[in-house]
């Protein structure tokens, strides 16, 4: 079998330089206790515009590089939502405003929301998995009215204070999307749901025959959600998932991001769940 087809029609420019372009940190917004959205503007010639779901390699000079999805596009500015959990991400989140960040990319496949006109779209995100989906939701909101399909956004987080982009969630609801949030554990006063995102799926309005799903979060969540959607009658090929592996080069040259036949920096991160990917996610890599 050839490499599984990836959503975007055009080929990802296969390799961009291994040397980063310089961007300046012009804004930092705290999203949760350890998560920040960083706004970068180009110092050098701007890189090609990213598509929702693609990622950049961000360099904290002297520390290292990390793969971070694009969470906002305000060309030529670009937003990345970063969770400070390792040396590089801590350095990125701690950089003073005006500091220089190295950027390479954009890399990988995207959500291809333009193909979803007329579909009932279910967007399901766990934790920081909402970051690479934010621009996809914005594109789908813009589609509303013209598109004809319904839009639902289901978000899971560990706790209410870990929910990303609360203002966006309200805005999307006002724009007509069906928005639901659930948490693993809630303090007193939380009136939303408690439990896994799959528990909310029954309440989500979609017609399985014309539904498409965009899923990003921890791999175990992706596996469970995709299986639940298939149980509800959604075609596996209509489910797109964003997968994560170690990324170093971004162009299929370094070998780190393999998942079976896939080089996820090149063939992913967004891949259709159907066929081989579903089987790959059932295998234990451990």
């Amino acid at each position: 079998m050839a490499r599984p087809a990836t959503p975007p029609a055009e080929a990802t420019p296969a390799r961009r330089a291994l040397t980063p372009s310089r961007y300046r940190l012009v804004g930092r917004r705290r999203e949760t206790d350890d998560t920040f959205t960083l706004r970068l503007t180009p110092i050098d010639q701007p890189l090609a515009a990213a598509r929702p779901g693609q990622f950049h390699m961000l360099t904290a000079f002297g520390i290292g590089e990390a793969a971070i999805s694009v969470s906002g596009l305000a060309s030529p500015a670009v937003d990345h939502t970063v969770r400070a959990v390792g040396a590089v991400t801590r350095a990125l989140c701690g950089l003073p405003i005006g500091g220089v960040v190295g950027v390479r990319g954009p890399f990988g496949t995207h959500w291809a929301t333009e193909e979803l006109d007329g579909s009932d779209v279910v967007v399901i995100a766990g934790g920081i998995g909402l970051a690479p989906l934010r621009e996809a939701v914005r594109a789908l909101i813009a589609r509303e009215g013209g598109g004809g399909g319904r839009l639902s956004v289901v978000v899971g987080a560990r706790a209410p204070d870990q929910l990303l982009y609360e203002e966006d969630l309200w805005r999307w609801r006002e724009a007509g999307a069906h928005v639901r949030a659930t948490v693993d554990s809630a303090p007193p006063g939380w009136t939303g749901a408690v439990g896994l995102v799959t528990t909310l799926l029954d309440a989500v309005p979609f017609d399985p025959a014309r539904a498409a799903a965009l899923v990003c979060g921890p791999e175990v969540m992706i596996r469970v959600v995709a299986a639940a959607l298939v149980d509800r009658g959604v075609a596996a090929s209509a489910i797109r998932v964003s997968l994560e592996r170690n990324m170093q080069c971004g162009g299929g040259l370094c070998g780190h991001c393999q998942l079976g036949p896939l080089l996820l920096c090149r063939d992913g991160p967004v891949v259709p769940y159907g066929g081989r990917v579903a089987r790959l996610l059932q295998e234990r890599e451990r």
Partner: protein, 389 residues
Amino acid sequence: MDVRPSRPPADDWAVLDPQGIDRLIGALGRRGYRTLGPVVRDGAITLAEIAGVADLPAGWRDAQDPGRYRLERTESPAFFAWAVGPHSAKAQVLPPRDRVWRASAGAGGVEIAEAGVDAPPTALVGIRPCDVAGLGVLDRVLGAAGAADPAYLRRRAQTFVVVAECGSPAATCFCTSMGTGPDARSGFDLALTELVDGGGHRFLSRSATGAGAALLRAVGGASATTIDRRSRDGVLGDAAARIRRRLDRDGLPALLERNLEHPRWDEVADRCLACGNCTMVCPTCFCTSVEDTTDLTGASQRERRWASCYEVGHSYIHGGPVRPSTRARYRQWLTHKLGTWHDQFGESGCVGCGRCVTWCPVGIDLCEEVDAIRRADGATAARPAPGGS
């Protein structure tokens, strides 16, 4: 299996004596090539700079078995009486360590300077057909149109290949299974076949490129006779017949894909040290990592270095490595090399040089591992269902 050597058209064949090889090495140097060839170093045939035939390992042969490599003395005057040493051509086109860029902290912030590519014209003299095939595999991985690594392409374009067809395979070799030897078919500038028989010590030579033809003309040499060409057929036919190791490639990618839970993975993981030797000596293992370092001036640099899928950190993502167990890492290596490489690059990642078998400290033999899986196709190890902790 067809073990007859391929027989190119006879036009361009010449015969060089050992002095002719000396002139060849000298001519490469005069043309500006850094000339690398086989030399004895630290008890092994390695690839290093040579100035003439005096540097070649005449009188040496190698004895190889799973987990074992020894040089032995031989009475033969042959320069190429050995099979393969630990060095493939890989390091010449993909250096083990290579600077990517440097960045300095200046008044206006950060200044980045892309590192130049150190790529002197390099002639590889006496590498084996399996290693020429290995360069071809790397070309498909690192040099694919539109997806190429520019540094790789630069170095590759500067490489001149003089292949020595193989008359002395080791017990660990299986190029005949992979279709990569013992004769050379493509990917070289010049091919030599060493003959030591009643006709004397000589080298049947042929060119495959204009540069190779020009060099051969400059070196001179006698025309090849039918007897010389028959001698080559004999040497290569005997070599092919001596290769007993087989990798059964029948349906191999599918076999591996449907046996990811085979008990053999646990069994081999009990022996595997996850040392990564197999990946370092492999002529096609291409994985690299980048490392950033910094100094007291605030300057930083990024280097790219060889990496191995046996390193725990190779698959690290937040939360831990994807493949923490030796079982998972050995399985990743073998299923990639022989299976999913086909999906990614349209061919096998193995050229049958046998280095991973020889240089494995515990003698794990990938052919044997494949056979074991094939013998019990469909067997599964008892283990918890996916999704458990």
